[in-house]
């Protein structure tokens, strides 16, 4: 149906979206800014591909264990470090992400170090990527529209008020990190199956920064914004390939401009849904004066 190129872009879009959703839950919904989530992608990629190749595990199990491995590490790491607030966790997360990569690079007997792991079976086909994306996006949208979503947002908006509404904020922060670790881990595992080859260098700080910028670009606190943001950034990167030297310059400038003119991102905190379209149509029809208006804006 699609050519390999379009197919490749759609697969990459699915993978990036899954990772971005994880970061969005943590940064956009729980208010924890991270600059090290590529580390969890790396964990997912390495755990799954090594299990599949060395232990002969079926790839589906490998992907899940990759995600679970990343989740466990996120959980363990989160318990002490998430006591840090604001900028300070962001700074620590740089260290954590880089530390994961350094361990992968130095543990040569298992990971082959910087040479990377070649010959991973190419299990990430278009249907696999799409299926994972749809299932995980569904779960994520369910999650943010549940008691957990409200609890995370409470931690984000007012940490103290949240704990005085009976939320164990420390535990919720760790839970949020663990879930986002799982999403990034699965994304990493899918990336491994897409490229058939992984190297620690793929998961460096630049990758982490990209994940976070996409979430900010889409709108902190909007999951659909995150998906739109990922879509735009991925497609624009592809579009600008022929003027490649200027591509990164444009990318950097766009981030700055977004921060200046629309720091809340494309979608702000709104979700693409019934309410969004209702508001949109209302805005398009300024003459529409609603009577008995319960909602005044």
């Amino acid at each position: 149906m699609f050519g390999g190129y379009t197919e490749g872009i759609i697969i990459l879009l699915c993978i990036n979206s899954i990772a971005a959703m994880g970061v969005s839950l943590l940064t956009g919904f729980t208010g924890i800014f991270t600059l090290g989530h590529a580390g969890y992608m790396a964990l997912g990629a390495y755990v799954s591909s090594l299990l599949i190749m060395k232990a002969g595990m079926p790839w589906l199990a490998g992907i899940f264990l990759g995600g679970t491995g990343a989740m466990l590490v996120a959980w363990l790491v989160g318990i002490p470090t998430l006591k840090l607030m604001g900028d300070y966790y962001a700074i620590a997360s740089i260290g954590l992400g880089e530390a994961i990569r350094l361990i992968l690079e130095n543990w040569q007997s298992v990971t082959r170090g910087a040479r990377g792991v070649p010959g991973i079976p190419p299990y990430t086909t278009l249907p696999v990527a799409l299926a994972f994306f749809l299932v995980m996006a569904f779960a994520m949208f369910c999650l943010i529209n549940s008691r957990y979503g409200r609890a995370f947002k409470a931690c984000r908006d007012d940490y103290l008020a949240a704990s005085l509404l009976g939320f164990n904020t420390a535990k919720l922060r760790v839970l949020s990190l663990a879930i986002s670790g799982f999403y990034c881990g699965v994304a990493g595992a899918l990336l491994a199956g897409f490229l058939s080859f992984i190297q620690p260098i793929m998961f460096d700080m630049i990758k982490s920064t990209e994940l976070t910028s996409v979430v900010v670009f889409g709108g902190l606190g909007s999951m659909s914004g995150t998906l739109i943001g990922t879509g735009i950034i991925t497609l624009v990167t592809e579009l600008f390939r022929p003027i490649s030297q200027y591509r990164m310059l444009i990318y950097g400038a766009v981030i700055v401009i977004i921060m200046i003119f629309r720091p809340e991102g494309i979608m702000g905190q709104k979700e693409l849904g019934k309410t969004f379209f209702r508001d949109l149509t209302r805005r398009l029809k300024p003459a529409d004066k609603r009577h008995g208006g319960g909602v005044k804006r």
Binding site: P80, I91, A92, I94, E98, L160, G252, I255, M259
Partner: protein
């Protein structure tokens, strides 16, 4: 014993270069409370200005350095005016500034990729680098001694500026509370410009030394991540903290590489960062801020 001494000297000389950069991070943080990731860019700007004046125009090292210092300072002010000021005036969410600064660092890096190319360049040997033997038990280079001296000169200069001049005092007042300083009649915008100019200037000094010591290329700014970590360990916003943090980091790196394992060097740096943050989230010299309920 000899190797220990040698590694300590190596560590101090590395730390002194980190200190020049770390102080810039801390200075900006103390006023605006955000980590300016574009700081590495100012360093690259300083390095390239110095390079082009030396190579193309053929000026002397003094002219080139002066131009580099002024140029980087000016670019830092420009960056603030173009990218940070509009955000600062709109909102007090420092996260947006942080992200904008990451964007600016990508912009600056890629401007140089386009206009100067990705090639690794080095300044002509304007700063002597011959080996100097210290009492026959350790070796350092002329360059290290010079960089240590320069760091001390500039950092003491900064200290004098901050404690003895009107604007310096205003900066220190603003570090406690920018808004209150504004209410007290300090011209906040000018004050912030001065802070950025100073930060850019110090970054350029670091940039010149780094490009002589190492090499000059658009991604050079990335290595400031270590200086940034040093600033955090010392306590963001604290100038003595930045210096002490840099020296600790320099020593930790060299001693790890020398006596434990050279591959573990960066791991130790990051662990040091995480552990410091866990024990003292505000760093060694940082001030404690408690939220009022």
């Amino acid at each position: 014993m000899e190797t220990v001494l040698q590694q300590v000297i190596n560590g101090l000389s590395l730390g002194s270069v980190y200190a020049l950069i770390a102080v810039g991070y801390s200075l900006v943080y103390s006023i605006l409370l955000f980590s300016n990731f574009a700081h590495g860019g100012f360093l690259v700007i300083g390095g390239y200005i110095c390079y082009f004046i030396l190579r193309s125009i053929g000026g002397g090292i003094w002219i080139a350095s002066l131009a580099a210092l002024m140029g980087a300072g000016f670019c830092a002010v420009l960056t603030e005016k173009l990218a940070y000021k509009p955000i600062r005036e709109r909102t007090n969410v420092t996260l947006y500034l942080l992200i904008a600064s990451m964007g600016m660092s990508i912009v600056i890096e890629n401007i140089f990729v386009i206009i100067a190319g990705g090639r690794f360049r080095a300044l002509p040997p304007v700063i002597p680098t011959q080996p100097v033997s210290l009492f026959g038990i350790a070796t350092t280079s002329m360059f290290d001694i010079l960089s240590l001296v320069t760091a001390v000169v500039f950092l003491s200069g900064l200290q004098i500026f901050l404690t003895r001049t009107k604007w310096g005092l205003a900066i220190r007042a603003a570090a406690y509370d920018l808004r209150v300083a504004g209410l007290m009649g300090v011209n906040v915008n000018r004050l912030i410009s001065i802070v950025f100019f100073t930060a850019g200037l110090l970054a350029a000094v670091g940039g010149i030394f780094l490009s002589v010591r190492y090499t000059l290329y658009p991604q050079l700014g990335l290595i400031t991540i270590k200086a940034f970590i040093a600033a955090v360990i010392g306590g963001l916003g604290s100038l003595p903290g930045a210096v002490v943090g840099s020296l600790i980091l320099g020593l930790a790196e060299m001693l790890t590489a020398g006596f434990i394992s050279s591959q573990m060097r960066d791991l130790v740096v990051f662990l040091l960062l995480v552990i410091t943050l866990l024990i003292r989230p505000t760093g060694l010299f940082g001030k404690d801020v408690k939220e009022k309920v």
